[in-house]
Symmetry: C2
Amino acid sequence: MRLTPEQLEEFDREGYLFLPSVFSPEETRLLREEAERVYALDREEVWRESSGAPRTAFAAHTYSEPFRRLGRHPRLIEPVMQLLDGPIYMHQYKVNAKAAFDGEVWQWHQDYGTWARDDEMPEPRAMNISVFLDEVTAVNGPLMFIPRSHKQGVQDAGHDLETTSYPLWTLDRATVKRLAEEGGIVAPTGPAGSMLMFHGTLVHASPPNISPWGRTIVYLSLCHVDNHIRRFKRPEWVAHRDFTPIEPLADDCLSELAAGQKSAGQAAE
Amino acid sequence: MRLTPEQLEEFDREGYLFLPSVFSPEETRLLREEAERVYALDREEVWRESSGAPRTAFAAHTYSEPFRRLGRHPRLIEPVMQLLDGPIYMHQYKVNAKAAFDGEVWQWHQDYGTWARDDEMPEPRAMNISVFLDEVTAVNGPLMFIPRSHKQGVQDAGHDLETTSYPLWTLDRATVKRLAEEGGIVAPTGPAGSMLMFHGTLVHASPPNISPWGRTIVYLSLCHVDNHIRRFKRPEWVAHRDFTPIEPLADDCLSELAAGQKSAGQAAE
């Protein structure tokens, strides 16, 4: 899977790229069911909303075989190697739930703001790539981007420890307003299996989910190996310290696992 | 302004009808500026979020000339007389702000649930008609409807006095989920000046507004005069007690006022 010159140009200009239905329903179902299993685990990596509903499972690639494979999937890794122009490592891995009714807000922020301030990542040669495990619609708390905001570098931010259970460096309102007046706000929506990639300095947020439907998205934060973090303040399972270049697996690494589970299920019946 | 047979059928089936750009930019601007003036008033009818941002101005038609005219505008009154099949009176009048960043949630509810329980309105021969004073988009807290939910009558509800500054009879989660599995959820969006009408038993909600843009909507709750409320528990400016049939004004009643203000402004320069 290679991005076209038009796609590379669009990512550079807008700061994000949305590719619908990159993963098959079968691959997506495998990951969706695995997310449920992971959220039920009693582990320090699994964070909850104040209601107790799951919010984020960190580092799921280290304790789940489907998520391990997704973390090395060529449909994710190869486009990011292309965009970051070289070998990459996994800086962070999150399975974000945004639970039905209870899923809370993520305030306006830049991910690289956190990576720079908390982790001393030298440059924004890092980005996110995400996979929708549920359909994302206007009604279940979609991710909102301010297009082209990534071109304006790292913005001042305050450390928000109160709004939600997750500490976040968030932008002030005047900055958000100024950037949104220039770039607008978009909320990319699409079916489960869609892929959304965005620059480390792109300003984004997501509203609470008041709908009766959950909305799970996996986020891989990938960084050029030369640009690895210098400071180990956050737990290893939040900001990883293994800078080994990721070797992509085969394109069928997930469908193979799904087929195996299915045949095992049938054999057991 | 008359609704077509197709529009009447759609309203009956889906429980709502969306008509984009019914009011001109000039008419909308007049109302938008008037909303700002009204929100700045220190009156008991003007309610605020916990942040102090405006949430709702009740009964604005009783202390504002532009909103008085809107409350008798033929583009609002005539279609509702058609749908409710006879003379109507104003049960409630609200200018809802949903302020930038601070606008809070309205949980899932049916307006007629409140009208029946609090005001003893005999039957759901009453409905809402609203006018967007700002563009409503997926990112600034749009109204969300569960289509066809109005066909299932009044649902059980609990009196929510805690979530926001406004007491509301809200539906339980199992009911919302069941209705949404059947009817889906839609979020009608469109330019300022658009009109949205919906049945008194249609289940709806709106999420917080995390965008940097306000989203003001005027709501008229109109009721057939024979179906007037029997109980006067809520303040008169929340649930009106004047059951006089509304006589629509001329179609240019707002544009005339806008033109008058403009020429007065020019004369003063």
